[in-house]
């Protein structure tokens, strides 16, 4: 029996997605997204310092459909990562661990992030 290599039982593919794990992985994804987004932010400044022509090219990219979608994504990533980060701080002071509170704060963070994203986008379009 010792020569037989035991198979690994299925995990990611069979475990039911639920609020707990989905919000956790979303926190990771938005964190990575913000990191990538920071390069764009720097690029924007660099373009600005290089003069009007380069600045216009980055602005026209950001005004394109792809650019607008990316910016909307970053707005959501910013709000979600911020508020879920506060949720993590709340856990770090040893509170909010019971399942009921975890679900309440989870839905709250998601709701607030989506609402603020929509409000921000409406505000930006209106301006």
């Amino acid at each position: 029996m010792s020569d037989c290599q035991r198979p690994l039982s299925p995990h990611l593919s069979i475990y039911r997605p639920q609020l707990t794990s989905m919000l956790s992985i979303l926190h990771r994804f938005t964190g990575v997204g913000l990191f990538v987004g920071s390069f764009l932010f720097v690029g924007w400044f660099v373009a600005l310092s290089l003069g009007e022509e380069s600045y216009q090219s980055i602005v026209s990219f950001l005004e394109s459909l792809v650019g607008q979608l990316l910016l909307s994504g970053w707005v959501f990533a910013f709000y979600y990562h911020l508020f879920n980060g506060l949720r993590h701080f709340y856990w770090d002071i040893g509170r909010g661990f019971d399942l009921e509170t975890t679900y309440k704060t989870g839905w709250l963070v998601l709701g607030v992030s989506i609402s603020l994203t929509v409000i921000t986008l409406i505000f930006m379009m209106w301006r």
Partner: protein, 268 residues
Amino acid sequence: MADFRLPKNSRLRPGKLHKASEDAKDVRRFHIYRYNPDDKENPQIDTFEVDQTQCGPMVLDALIYIKNHIDPTLTFRRSCREGICGSCSMNIDGTNTLACTKSTGDVKGDVKIFPLPHMPVIKDLVPDLSVAYAQYTSIKPWIQEEVEHTGDRERLQSPEDRKKLDGLWECILCFSCSTSCPSYWWNGDRYLGPATLLQAHRFIQDSRDQKTDERLQELEDPFKLYRCHTIMNCTKTCPKGLNPAASIGDIKQKIAEQKIKGISLKKG
């Protein structure tokens, strides 16, 4: 780096269908993970049709029915059939729980049953828990003392101190929580996992244990403890309704408090 895919020898292939007899009244389908180390084939999913009028209400009843009446080679652990031994922990309908306390009626549609996730499989629904048990041993799950206890009676404890163990002593070590944790899936060789950390907390909280500081220092490690990212799958899945995530949070806090107090056991 975590490998999100199953190794080649673990990928699933289609299995057999065991149809119910014509006169069955209330048929329910069970899709069950099968692996036989003797036939040197990949694991497969067998489907069993079970007449619900012929078997009890729990998933474990259905498994026992299948073993007794359809396929005697179906292998799984079970003992107490009342949620206190922790033997029949497995993944049912996508979450980890005890087959004996999970009602088939609570599952919508077909019932899918897998072994505890991301574990080496010995046979069918029987995972190899050696690593998990070794991790449990590593936290020294017994009362340790600085001064040897003397006298002819047990160590006394106030009702308040005893209360601190509620929500901890009930753990039956079924490892449903540990194997529900993505962090434990990717780092199970070094991260202790929620079940073992809840047990560690149980002894940290015990007023009769005199090695609290050592226990905390032993746990302060990027992998043993801090791979917990508060995903909370553990608390969500615990069939006993316990809260391993809260235990881990309390350990982290106690370590922080220990630092603030400047308690250092490393002398010199």
